[in-house]
């Protein structure tokens, strides 16, 4: 994995959306490496339904940014073949649930090609998947399926929460010699930050979590769309006298035990927060491994604040489903503070 080198700053930082930063990452990767190909439904002429690939077909031609036929297994399957021949395909799945038709290709081939061939044929391939809800999408448009990908050895699972990470992590993912499922939080596509595209922040290699907000009372372990929720909750918690640390995982695979456990050992309490359903979701793994590693530092069980264990609800009800600030604070309140020495 390479670390994106900082280029000399030529222009000032300007507000950019996460969608723009992602587009810029694709652009820069394509410009640097002719092996990088973007493909998917509507990624060419239209620039993608979220406009992430806007302008790429115009600049690099249809063969580098290709509108494919409408068939997700075909898209991922042909991308596998392209990677076998030395290209670095970046596949876009239009929405999270529409990646399911490609599940067999992902699990039986993408995740295993390196292993099947004893390391002789790695697959440098990135699958971009817009995920999560909060955008008023009708059914099948708001799934969070990271649990499926986490449980599949052989792929990295990466998800940005900030504009800068969107750029840096996508660059790292494309540069990785392993396949990456790159989960883009739909409702953060339009989130903005001051960001200098001429001077992208250097990111660490995939696999490092980051402390977004230091704190001493308890650790909120989170990622993707729930990072802003946790930061807001941490602000609100100050009124209650809690100083919450927020850890943004950035990648679920590899999982950064070091950063997470260091934080939890310091604070002694933790809540995992994510939008995906709780049962069988990422939070179980996270809570279990933190407990295994930090048992004697824990003042309370690691709690989870997650989406409910239901199919994603219709738009008019989604606010009740999504874990928000109040639910996070409620969990923090249940961290057995009465035991505080």
């Amino acid at each position: 994995m390479t670390t994106v080198a900082a280029k000399p700053a030529a222009v000032a930082a300007k507000p950019a959306t996460m969608a723009q930063a992602l587009g810029r990452a694709l652009h820069d990767a394509m410009a640097e490496d002719p092996a990088v190909h973007v493909m998917g439904e509507d990624v060419g002429t239209l620039g993608g339904v979220f406009r992430v690939t806007d302008g790429l077909a115009r600049e690099f031609g249809d063969d580098r940014c290709t509108d494919t036929p409408l068939a997700e297994a075909g898209i991922l399957g042909t991308a596998v073949g392209m990677a076998m021949y030395g290209l670095r395909p970046v596949v876009e799945m239009q929405f999270d649930a529409f990646a399911y038709p490609a599940f067999e290709q992902l699990v039986s081939h993408v995740a295993r090609m390196r292993n099947r061939t004893k390391g002789r044929m790695p697959l440098p391939l990135t699958v971009r998947v817009p995920y999560g809800g909060g955008i008023g999408g009708v059914e099948h448009h708001s799934d969070s399926s990271e649990a499926y990908y986490m449980a599949t050895p052989g792929i990295h699972v990466v998800t940005p929460a900030t504009v800068a990470d969107a750029y840096g992590l996508l660059r790292e993912s494309i540069a990785s010699d392993d396949p990456v499922v790159f989960l883009e939080p739909k409702r953060l596509y339009w989130s903005k930050a001051d960001w200098n595209p001429e001077h992208p922040l250097a990111v660490e290699p995939i696999g490092r979590a980051v402390v977004r907000r230091p704190g001493r009372s308890a650790t909120l372990i989170t990622y993707g769309p729930s990072v802003p929720v946790c930061l807001e909750a941490a602000e609100a918690a100050r009124a209650e006298g809690w100083d919450l640390e927020v850890v943004d995982l950035r990648s679920l695979v590899p999982f950064d035990d070091e950063t997470v456990c260091a934080s939890v050992r310091r604070t002694g309490r933790a809540v995992v927060v994510h939008e995906s359903g709780g049962f069988g979701g990422p939070g179980g793994e996270i809570a279990a491994r933190v407990t295994e590693r930090c048992f004697h530092h824990l003042e309370a069980p690691v709690l989870r604040v997650t989406g409910f264990d239901i199919p994603y609800p219709p738009p008019m009800l989604e606010r009740h489903h999504l874990p928000g600030v109040d639910r996070v604070l409620d969990a923090v309140a249940r961290l057995q503070w009465e035991a505080e020495s």
């Binding site: 509507d42 002429t45 409408l70 008023g136 989870r304 997650t306 264990d309 199919p311 219709p314 009740h320």
Partner: protein
């Protein structure tokens, strides 16, 4: 069921390579191949034979359908619909699909086919439930014999095959008509559904509305086939290519295919060549990928105008009839507007009620949590209905150590 003396495969000279040189007779592909040009009736001699009653019925439905599309699109601007994929320009497909079916038959619509459901008799408000952001499916599929509007492309096609097959096994002469777009034909589920249907000789009609685009992707990037109807031969079923803006031609072809299926003749693939006049949905910007001239050219081949011309030429349409059709359409639109402007009454507790027949213990916990949150938000709202799937089971906090956790 065991009384059927011959299985499907016995009945037909099914393809199975036998030892050479005695190659077994194979199905003749010739009758399966579609015509080179889309079948048309309106504007041709054959149109004179079209029944006045049918023409008038089609006309009224098309006018109503056009008005419905306009009203639904307007509702998106007022924030009353989350999204609307319009079928403007494709009304002939929507209406013909609905009218080709008997009451006992089943319709399998895609997300674009609310109009077909409405033309079949469904209340527009119920049909729009999904797109309003209210509950996913706003009607009882079994009551109306309309499957839920389907968003994951082509996935409803195997459902149609299975349902039709089940009906036949039960001895019911029910036909299923399944709708899919040109883009949807590229999905594996399209292939698998057509193959199952042909092998089982299931009474299904597959209607492909080829409107030239899958969102922004033109047909030429979707397929290199002579036509989508030509795909039929690879499954051993007849393919029919029809002008999808010619309501009479399409109605005839679909009615034939339904009759053929009902009589045990097996499935048919019908490609209706049409055009999506509006953008993919209200959220789409069609100018990014197509030219106005193309849209204009297709406007000149308007499905309503085609029927209207025929009716007029034959003196079957006077001003009163036109006015009546328009008034009916307006009344439908006004009613729709009025009812869509009322806030739907949703019960958040429904989130937990329909996951399983009986909520699991963690669903009870989560329901309790939400109930508490709602009570805190508005302590004076009336008691929330219990989970209706569970006769006699009250969602309640399960007997576990941690009560009402965030999971």
């Amino acid at each position: 069921m065991k009384s059927r003396s011959l299985t499907v495969m016995d009945q037909r000279g099914a393809y199975r390579p036998a030892p050479p040189p005695a190659w077994q007779p194979r199905t003749d592909p010739a009758p399966l191949l579609p015509d080179a040009e889309p079948y048309r009736v309106l504007g041709t001699e054959a149109a004179r034979k079209a029944e006045p009653g049918l023409l008038r019925r089609l006309y009224a439905e098309l006018v109503r359908g056009r008005r419905y599309n306009a009203q639904a699109t307007a509702l998106t601007k007022q924030g009353r619909l989350a999204v609307y994929p319009s079928s403007t320009g494709q009304e002939a497909c929507q209406v013909a699909a609905a009218l080709a079916l008997e009451d006992r038959d089943w319709l399998f619509p895609s997300y674009r086919d609310t109009l077909a459901a409405i033309a079949r008799g469904l209340d527009p408000v119920q049909a729009l439930s999904l797109l309003r952001g209210d509950w996913h499916t706003g009607y009882d599929p079994r009551e109306h014999r309309i499957a839920p509007l389907c968003t994951p492309l082509a996935t409803q096609l195997p459902h149609a095959v299975g349902l039709a097959h089940a009906a036949r096994l039960k001895g019911d002469d029910v036909v299923a008509l399944a709708m899919v777009g040109d883009g949807g034909t590229s999905e594996g589920d399209f292939h698998e559904a057509l193959n199952f249907a042909a092998v089982w000789q299931a009474p299904v009609v597959f209607l492909v509305q080829n409107n030239g685009f899958a969102i922004s992707v033109p047909l030429a990037k979707q397929t290199a086939a002579p036509s989508l109807a030509h795909k039929a031969v690879g499954y051993g079923m007849p393919g029919r290519l029809v002008d999808g803006n010619d309501a009479v031609a399409l109605h005839e072809v679909l009615t034939d295919a339904v009759r053929h299926a009902r009589a045990g003749g097996g499935p048919t693939l019908v490609e209706a060549v049409t055009y999506r006049i509006d953008a993919h949905t209200n959220a789409d910007d069609a100018t990014r990928y197509r030219h106005d001239e193309e849209v204009e050219a297709w406007r000149r081949h308007d499905p309503i105008a085609l029927v209207e011309r025929e009716l007029t030429e034959r003196g079957l349409l006077d001003e009163d009839a036109v006015r009546e059709a328009r008034e009916n359409a307006e009344a439908m639109a006004a009613d729709l507007r009025a009812r869509m402007n009322q806030e739907p009454r949703l019960d958040p507790m429904d989130l937990f009620a329909h996951v399983y027949a009986e909520p699991t213990s963690q669903l009870h916990e989560q329901a309790a949590q939400l109930r508490a949150e709602l009570a805190a938000e508005a302590p004076d709202i009336p008691d929330i209905a219990d989970t209706p799937d569970t006769a006699g089971t009250t969602p309640d906090i399960a007997d576990t150590t941690l009560k009402g956790t965030g999971r």
